[in-house]
């Protein structure tokens, strides 16, 4: 019997997941969406028609869903409500990052799932990028010795105030762009350095469209327990609008490794037979979720790591709001915000 899961959210991210799931299905993987739910019934119907999945505009329908898990691809501010429905039904969940737009709600969700002993995974898809996961593996294998510095630069095309992705600019709904977008790279920095972040200071700005209610670029300097450093920068002001690029380099005690999405390769090896790019990340993430659901493996993103990455992102955002003041991660982990 295939693993049967529901997809909640038929927006852009839900569509990416449906495409990835479709790829898995056509490549013999025994996992499929059996239901798509979106509060906008028309949007659910469009996605359902494209991928031939039963659909509904009623979240309540989840209560009669008897599948193996739920994939939550909705805006961040809706995560808590949907996650609560799922945990009460005992349904394992894959939920898009960030878990919540604030640390308090994230902790509540994690503790609720832990107490109910219901599996919860958080979708840090960057970790599943084929090349970046090889970069991480190389570091874990000791190829560059002790990692001392990671730099990550993410460039993305501009958007405008109140446009189609306006909720991502709204701090009440997304946590703000450092938390919404930056968390991928902040999480990746922690993952590759294999050390606990101690503090962060962030300088941020918004330039092209002052009406956007969130930072459009940031520079975060992270200090790790091991003594390692990270410089994580992001810019969502890039023209042309469809621009997307990520670079990453890690300097270690015996070597260095660098990645540039424009090259679609990492410098340690030019062999590349895996699919690359965003869709490949989602495909690998869903494949991994399937393995977790059947008990073959443990989640690559542990709840503690996901919690720490969110704390770092919240700290980075707070630092930006305070003109680059250093924020200790402990303040977030044990604070109220």
């Amino acid at each position: 019997m295939p693993i049967r899961v529901a997809l909640v959210g038929a927006g852009a991210h839900g569509h990416s997941h449906a495409s990835a799931m479709n790829y898995l299905g056509t490549n013999g993987m025994d996992i499929k969406y059996e239901l798509v739910v979106d509060e906008n019934p028309a949007r659910a119907a469009i996605l359902a028609a494209e991928f031939k999945i039963p659909h509904s505009g009623d979240l309540g329908l989840l209560s009669s869903f008897s599948g193996d898990g739920v994939d939550i691809c909705t805006p961040t501010h809706t995560h808590l409500e949907i996650a609560e429905i799922c945990v009460n039904l005992g349904l394992p969940v894959l939920i898009d990052k960030p878990l919540s737009q604030n640390f308090h709600d994230a902790d509540f969700i994690i503790n609720t799932f832990k107490n109910a002993k219901v599996p919860l995974q958080i979708g840090y898809s960057t970790r599943f990028d084929p090349l970046l996961s090889r970069l991480k593996q190389s570091i874990s294998d000791g190829v560059i010795g002790i990692p001392g510095l990671v730099t990550i630069n993410h460039l993305q095309g501009y958007s405008w105030a109140n446009g189609w992705s306006a909720w991502q600019q709204n701090g009440q709904k997304s946590g703000g762009r450092i938390i919404h977008f930056g968390i991928h790279d902040l999480d990746f920095a922690c993952w590759v350095m294999e050390s606990r972040p101690i503090s962060v200071r962030t300088i941020a700005s918004k330039k092209i469209d002052q009406a956007i209610a969130s930072w459009t670029s940031y520079s975060a300097q992270i200090f790790f327990e091991s003594g390692a450093l990270a410089l994580v920068t992001g810019n969502w002001d890039v023209i042309p609008a469809n621009y997307w690029r990520k670079t990453c380099s890690v300097i270690g005690s015996t070597g260095s490794i660098k990645y540039d999405s424009a090259d679609d390769e990492i410098s340690l090896s030019s062999q590349n037979t895996e699919p690359v790019g965003y869709l490949a990340s989602i495909i690998n993430e869903l494949k991994h979720w399937r393995e977790c659901l059947v008990g073959n493996t443990e989640p690559i993103v542990s709840l503690e790591q996901a919690r720490m990455s969110l704390a770092l992102a919240v700290a980075a955002q707070n630092s930006a709001e305070n003109h680059g003041a250093t924020v200790q991660i402990e303040e977030i982990l044990h604070g109220s915000k």
Binding site: L149, S219, A228, T233, D237, V238, I239, G255, A262
Partner: protein
């Protein structure tokens, strides 16, 4: 200066880059290397190096004190260890010599200010070694000046050298008595120069962080091997810089990218390429460059200096620019060592 006359050059000190610079100066069509000098009370090994270089170049060895009093020297090129750059530069300026100072021109803000005051009171031609004649940097500058990129918003620069510490003189880089200490002083000047050259904006605050966990040699000397520097600049522009030394980092990592209000530009010195994307008719292009060799770049720098001595042009970067950069480097060192941002007051 008479454009038909050779420029008579004295090299003061032969501690670090002098052995790379001397053959290029010797073969420059307008320059004549008249001698290598060292302070008479300098450490013996420094005097030995100066004598060795003089012999290698087939030129004379002088004490600096004697050499600066000579009338047949037009230009003094200061190539000692960094901590003596300022004092020798000031001596040369006071002796009425045009000067080129190796980077960094000073290892403290106090020295940078002292040197700046001294050169301001003179009408000499004075500069410092920089890499702003890199073709990729020149094209980037042209692109910004043309307006196609719009206003620069953020700049990201990486300057990671793959040269081994031993090949670069070891203690001359890590020894605080010799270099002022660490890779921030050693490397930051290059990307900083590019940021200031491309934007012409003043930094207002420096946020630096550094470590030495990947290099036992740096750690043993108490200096940094790797550093990140964020510069908050005028007009809300921001520059993110990474510097340091990465073992086996291929040919090093030397990249510059600029997000502008109307386009994006990326320079990779390793390939080397310059990639551009703008709104103008979906303009997107990638320009490939020949890999530059150091000799060619150095000659472009010397030609610029000669042109200024001839009175035809101003040098691309004056010694005052070098003093400003040395001051910023010192602030970055302070910020990194205190883990606090530092305001720029000059």
């Amino acid at each position: 200066m008479d454009q038909n006359r050779n420029i008579r050059v004295l090299m003061a000190g032969a501690v670090r880059h002098a052995f790379d610079y001397a053959p290029i100066i010797t073969s420059h069509p307008r320059m004549k290397l008249v001698g290598i000098a060292e302070e008479s009370d300098a450490d013996l090994w420094k005097i030995d190096l100066a004598r060795e270089l003089a012999k290698k170049c087939g030129t004379s060895f002088f004490s600096i004190e004697d050499a600066l009093s000579r009338k047949d020297i037009d230009l003094v090129v200061i190539t000692t260890e960094p901590t003596r750059h300022t004092s020798l530069a000031i001596q040369a300026i006071k002796a009425g010599k045009n000067i080129i100072v190796d980077k960094p021109v000073a290892t403290s803000i106090a020295d940078a200010e002292k040197l700046a005051r001294t050169i301001e009171e003179s009408n000499l031609v004075a500069s410092y070694f920089h890499r702003l004649f890199e073709p990729t940097v020149e094209r980037a500058k042209e692109f910004i000046q043309s307006g196609q990129l719009g206003l620069p918003l953020t700049l990201d620069l990486t300057w990671i050298s793959s040269n081994s510490l031993a090949d670069e003189g070891g203690e001359i880089v890590t020894g605080k008595q010799l270099s002022g200490g660490g890779e921030i002083r050693n490397f930051l000047g290059y990307p900083l120069d590019i940021v200031l050259w491309l934007t012409d904006l003043k930094p207002v605050r420096v946020y630096a962080a550094s470590n030495s966990i990947t290099s036992k040699d740096h750690a043993a000397s108490g200096v940094e091997n790797l550093a990140t520097i964020v510069l908050a600049m005028e007009s809300g522009v921001r520059a993110n810089i990474t510097v340091g030394r990465g073992p086996n980092a291929g040919n090093g990592i030397f990249t510059t990218s600029i997000v502008g209000s109307h386009g994006f530009l990326s320079v990779n010195e390793n390939r080397p390429t310059l990639e551009i994307a703008t709104t103008a008719k979906d303009f997107k292009s990638s320009i490939n460059f020949e890999q530059e060799n150091f000799e060619k770049l150095f000659n472009l720098f010397l030609n610029d200096f000669v042109s200024a001595l001839d009175g035809k042009t101003h040098v691309r970067r004056t010694l005052l620019d070098g003093c400003r950069i040395a001051g910023l480097i010192d602030l970055a060192c302070t910020s990194a060592s205190t883990s606090q941002p530092v305001a720029v007051n000059f």
